[in-house]
Amino acid sequence: MNLLTLQRTMAKAVMHPLTHSEHMSKRTPTGEPMAEHAATFIKPNDRLSSFERLEIYNRQYWWRLMSSLAEDFPGLQAILGNRRFEALCKAYLVARPSRSFTLRNLGRDLEAWQRKNPQWAGSKQPIALDMVRLEWADIEAFDGAAEEPIKPADITKSAGENLRLRLQPYVRLLKFHYPVDALVLEIKKFNDDTEFLSNAFRERRKRKRVSAVAKLKPKTIFLAVHRIDYSVYFRRLQAPEYHLLLALQKGETLGRAVTDTFSKRSKTLKADLAQVTNWFQNWSNLGWFCVLTKNPEPNLKRR
């Protein structure tokens, strides 16, 4: 057996899902007895059979990856419950095994996969999808790139219709159908508060958290996921704020973004502009803008 064949053979066995009791399956994906299969390439020793030696790696693989997903998506776990969450993660990892050198990217395809496979979240699919999007945005905001922010005064000086402002790479703008940010914050607080507490106390707090999930009603919210001093924050936005920022993020000029955002609203122009000025002041104080260009030519299409 050459190197590539051996590695393909072992990887296939290592990545094969565990049984419900978290042991290596007795059958290979093709139905062959796993013990016989393992014996074809792994030596037994005086204490462990070939099967048992391979099982060590099989279990380590699943425990490592499942705990990584649990760490990255505690909100999704709270929404689905442990059993359904584990089943979803297992199905996801079978369909989309890791294709990155870092575990940080393990959940990168979870939203896309979950949209195509709604059966795993069942009736909780809408809120579960919202949660996955938020928790992935949290990860991206945590270690996303940052550029030198521009000062509020620089924006004021250069303000004009053709101004293009770029948002920091780490800022994520999201629209949700459920107020999932509240649940994530509750979970983070729970983990901080109960780190050193007894199991019984943690269980009581956990039941309270689960009942909080059950009470989440649909409510459209707009959120910016960003960071201040290297900590990630969620900032709720008004709908026009969100649409304005989204337009800027997509490369629209300032003038076009404002026009598009407020053309459908009934407020007076003066009040609108005062509000926009206030928003820009806040956003630039938060360091959200990083590039200033004046380009009269549309730059939205690839050449």
């Binding site: 190197l3 051996l6 990887a11 030596k43 270690d143 790139a145 780490y170």
Partner: protein, 283 residues
Amino acid sequence: MPANRFNGFTDYGIGIGLRSPHYNHILTRKPVVDWFEIISENFMIDGGRPLHVLDQILEQYRVVQHGVSMYFGSAHRTDREHLKRLKDLVKRTKTPWLSDHLCWGSVDGRYTHDLLPMPYTFEAAAKTAQKIRDVRDYLEVPIAVENVSSYAEFHVSEMTEWEFLNEVVECADCGILLDVNNIYVSSQNHSFNPFDYINSVPPERVAQIHIAGHSKYEKYILDTHDHPVIDPVWKLYDRAIQRVGHTATLLEWDDSIPTFREVHNEALKANRFLAKSVLARAV
């Protein structure tokens, strides 16, 4: 051998792994530590807190990079994105050498995120050595490969693990990160004499030594890095130091991580053996 071409001709002493539970202590108390080892993958990102902390650490301490996903022994070529990010980090840290494992863990673009054992064959040795040379040429920094702990052996193997290690490092002309805990763990799992392993390693290629704790189960030992170093491992370390001399030594403690002081005190126990080595050479 202390300073050699595989550790960038540095003379580092005892170091510990840089771990997030200790960040606050290190940055506020500024303890005296000879050097820190970082896991490269934790800092191969675009921005945020980890890099901010790293930059602060780099202002005050010496740092060496250790990787867990280069997979020198994988049959397929290394991911270009991985190499590019790693090179960016090498430039940031100015690491005097870079280490990763003599193992594989990915195939056909799918990653197990584990350190899987090699078949000890001449084919595997040749391919692994070529990969090490390619990575070293790209990164332009000395490379040291670490022996892993393992729980399985393959029918196709043509030599012992230490013969395989020697074959690879000679063909690649690279250094060795000698993990004496891994030698102990593997010796118990595969029933060989760990001193045979230590005694066969070419001392002039040893760039660094790892020590660590592990977990003992009924039928095997698991390399968990979550306990103090046990006496049999210290004995192996002692023998290694006798053969290779005063060498950069790193304690790995990656799980159930205790306080900084506890980890550092455990690492400093290596001084008992390093001092003996200095005395022996003086006499």
